[in-house]
């Protein structure tokens, strides 16, 4: 329910015991190591130890890549909903079998690379076959270039050029020339030209006028047919090799778990190595610094007392607050909001944890916007199934909890608005019995008929929400000794609010002139206080501009902030309207041609698809707009962000996870 109190840890340990200590601390899982302070960095005799972080990183990447490739060639058959395997911490710290796993991963990656090279060799062979197609009729070796006295040229001319013309042109150069048409397609005619060697130059000159493109087949010393056969043989050989490589990868899939475990072990070694990199050492002693939650100090002491080390924990002074990592301690209800807070930005150390304040509003607003019993039940069911099957931790647990509470609120608000998949019950009852007078589910209010009421209600909730933020801000200011700030900023706004309420009561409800003047007077006091507050830190003419700026900002800011809560009503109404139209369309065939199997099938299909779309759109839209109300309007009133997340040295891993102790 609060931001965890942190202590700065300073630790000196015999260098020989450092690795052993890190293994003990990763098991403990509550110490985050940090860069040493500047005064330590300037000590000559303290140096960074050599590190194998880089080699661990590249080994880790190799293992991950191998697991990924296994997934590509031999996809794992596994249900979508299954929790990762749990192993105990000792298994994760063990490094047995690492080199075998690395060899295996190397083989998998090499086989994959070979497969990719085979792919490019295959396309090369196919390109050759393609280029030989026009020459298949030619029974000469393709690299023929003539005899003692004659020259031979192979090439193509565009199809639009008549070959007779070309022949004439060649004969006009010399009688001793001959043109053979080999084949033709839509684009070109493929020809062989034989001529006396001494006329080669002139013949080439003449050919140029006909866009002749000579074709050379370097390295192909047999006929086109034979070359094609050779290429086909090569393709077959490549296909066999490819299949063999693929089979060799698939066969290794049996050892997939070994690779996964090795990858996760390396991830933990990497985490310890990165922590060790932050230490400074002399020949015999390592100096390390970090952070530990105050509540874990005793547990830490218990571990450290087993080693030859000297250590101290101290509360950080206020000027160090920006460096202190932030961890939020929450109960089951407020933990759900961690997801929201972490997505925005953690609170700065020494300020307030917004989750307990935000939780009731977030969940209530979400419920109001979705407001449907059916959708709420789906969310509750999904959350419970996910929590049972996946056994989520950390942020996925927070997500499931948020889904659960959002679902409960959605169903509850659905009861108030009488909405179950919009109005499907009403439609069905009236379909089966057209004379029924049942008015639909009971509702306290309905967004369609009471849209004004819902709109004003949303704005009132918004006022409450914003004022909660202001109370927090005022309390914080008073705590930090800025009583005047609390009085002139929040206080004056509250006085204005009271004045406004008095005036509103007068105008809308009782029409009493005494109330009217009292309201005006209170309002005036509030405005004067606000003006004075704005000008109190400025000097000279600055006071005037500050005051006007303040009036403008307060008026437009508050106006905008409160109106922004109208989105609660908008989303509530939109979801209902879209759902209603789907229901109407779904029962249409049954209404026009009677209730039978076919029309009911149409009903089910349209109903399921339509509500699936509406549900997906709504859940996303409501989450985002709820988030916006919290992060922009609410946080704007009091929140100071910028906390760095607390990332202690603890067991991690992509595929398996350590048992919780």
């Amino acid at each position: 329910m609060a931001i965890l109190k942190m202590k700065r840890l300073r630790l000196m340990i015999a260098r020989s015991q450092k690795d052993e200590l890190l293994r003990a601390l990763i098991r403990l899982g509550c110490v985050q190591f940090s860069e040493p302070e500047d005064e330590l960095l300037s000590v000559e005799s303290l140096r960074r130890a050599e590190s194998d972080t880089l080699s661990l990183k590249s080994d880790h990447a190799v293992l991950l890549r191998a697991v990924e490739l296994l997934g590509k060639y031999a996809p794992e058959k596994k249900g979508m909903l299954s929790a990762p395997e749990e192993v105990d911490g000792e298994t994760l710290l063990d490094s047995a079998g690492l080199s075998e796993a690395l060899t295996l991963a190397g083989e998998i990656i090499a086989a994959d690379e070979r497969i990719r090279r085979i792919g490019s060799e295959e396309s090369r062979e196919r390109a050759v076959i393609e280029s030989l197609v026009p020459w298949l009729n030619l029974d000469l070796p393709l690299d023929v270039d003539g005899t003692e006295r004659s020259s031979v040229m192979l090439g193509s001319v565009p199809a639009k050029i008549p070959l007779d013309k070309l022949r004439e042109a060649l004969e006009s150069v010399t009688e001793e020339s001959e043109l053979f048409e080999v084949s033709a397609d839509k684009k070109a005619s493929y020809v062989m030209i034989v001529c006396a060697k001494e006329f080669l130059g002139e013949i080439q000159e003449a050919l140029r006028a006909f866009d002749f493109t000579a074709q050379s087949f370097a390295g192909l010393s047999s006929s086109a047919k034979q070359c094609t056969a050779q290429c086909n043989a090569a393709l077959e050989r490549l296909a066999r090799e490819k299949a063999a490589c693929e089979a060799s990868i698939v066969e290794k899939a049996a050892r997939r778990d070994e690779l996964k475990l090795a990858a996760d072990r390396l991830e933990n070694s990497l985490a310890m190595s990165e922590a060790a990199d932050l230490a400074l050492s002399t020949e015999d002693v390592a100096v390390m610094q970090g952070w530990v939650p105050a509540e874990k100090e005793a547990a830490l002491e218990d571990v450290l007392s087993r080693y030859d080390c000297a250590w101290e924990c101290e509360d950080p002074p206020e000027e160090d607050y920006p460096e202190v990592p932030v961890s939020l301690k929450n109960n089951k209800l407020t933990n759900a909001l961690n997801m929201v807070t972490e997505m925005y930005s953690l609170p700065a150390y020494g300020t307030v944890d917004p989750n307990p304040l935000m939780a009731p509003f977030f969940i209530l607003f979400f419920g109001l916007m979705m407001a449907d019993i059916g959708y709420g039940l789906i969310m509750i069911a999904a959350a419970i199934v996910a929590m049972k099957k996946l056994k989520p931790r950390g942020s996925s647990l927070a997500f499931c909890q948020l889904l659960l509470y959002g679902g409960i609120a959605t169903a509850a608000m659905g009861v108030l608005t009488g909405s179950f998949f919009s109005d499907v019950l009403y439609r069905l009852v009236h379909l089966i019995n057209p004379d029924s007078t049942w008015p639909g589910l009971w509702h306290l209010f309905s967004p369609e008929t009471d849209s004004n009421l819902v709109l004003y209600g949303s704005l009132v909730l918004g006022m409450l929400h914003l004022n909660t933020g202001m109370v927090v801000s005022a309390v914080q200011k008073v705590k930090n000794g800025d009583k005047a700030g609390a009085l002139f900023e929040e206080g004056s706004l509250w006085i204005i609010l009271v004045g406004g309420l008095l005036l509103a009561t007068d105008m809308l409800l009782v029409k009493n002139s005494a109330l009217h003047y009292a309201g005006l007077a209170v309002l005036a006091v509030g405005v004067v206080m606000l003006l004075f507050g704005a000008g109190r830190n400025a000097k000279g003419f600055g006071k005037v501009t500050a005051a006007f700026g303040c009036i403008y900002n307060t008026a437009t800011g508050w106006f905008g902030d409160v109106l922004s809560y109208s989105r609660i009503m908008a989303l509530m109404l939109a979801g209902g309207v879209v759902g209603k139209v789907f229901n109407t369309v779904a029962v249409m065939p049954a209404e026009s041609s009677g209730v039978n199997v076919l029309t009911m099938l149409v009903f089910v299909i349209i109903f399921v698809l339509g509500h699936a779309i509406n549900f997906a759109l709504n859940i996303l839209g409501c989450y985002v707009h709820d988030l916006r109300l919290q992060c922009l309007e609410f946080f704007g009133k009091f929140y100071s962000d910028g906390g760095k997340p607390f990332r202690p040295l603890k067991f991690g891993g992509k595929y398996v996870r350590a048992k919780e102790t």
Binding site: E448, S451, R567, A570, L571, L573, A574, V577, V578, V581, T584, V585, I613, L617, L620, G621, V624, H625, L627, R628
Partner: protein, 159 residues
């Protein structure tokens, strides 16, 4: 006035319903088209991301749905009365249909561009792709407001 009367109120009302569906659907077609092009480019490189690319592509498709909702509400309001609607009533229906028509058309195209840009996020930072989705939903809100404006106006028209 007599010019409009020569068409009749029913034609004007149908024109409104037609514009609501057609403009919003054209917008969605363009929006999903823009996002789809970007998505196809990504999927050609990384077929494994096709599911997420598809989700981003369908987000600008909702305006068409909203347009259809308003079309449906307007059409069921006037069907059976088409011959007897006055020009005033026809114009009222037409006016009520305009927000989702125009708003749907333009917001879907704008949303399509955001979705296409979000597909870039999916390509470069796959872990952060939901943030792109959130940016798309921000544009969605204005289409929802248009839907509501049309819906509330249609509800207020007495025939």
């Amino acid at each position: 006035m007599s010019f409009l009367e020569s068409f009749g109120g029913g034609a004007l009302a149908l024109l409104g319903a037609a514009l609501a569906a057609a403009l919003a659907c054209v917008g969605s077609a363009k929006g999903t088209g823009i996002a789809g092009e970007a998505g196809a480019g990504l999927v050609s490189e990384e077929p494994g991301k096709s599911g997420k690319a598809l989700i981003l592509q369908v987000i600008p498709g909702t305006q068409g749905l909203y347009g259809f909702v308003i079309f449906f509400v307007a059409f069921s309001k006037v069907s059976g009365l088409i011959g007897s609607l006055t020009v005033q009533q026809g114009l009222q229906i037409l006016s009520a249909c305009l927000p989702i028509g125009i708003g749907g058309l333009l917001s879907a195209i704008a949303q399509g561009k955001v979705a296409a840009a979000s597909i870039n996020i999916l390509a470069k930072k796959p872990d952060d792709w939901t943030k792109g989705m959130i940016m798309c939903v921000i544009v969605e809100f204005y289409a929802i407001l248009c839907l509501l404006a049309s819906f509330l106006m249609l509800g207020a028209i007495a025939l």
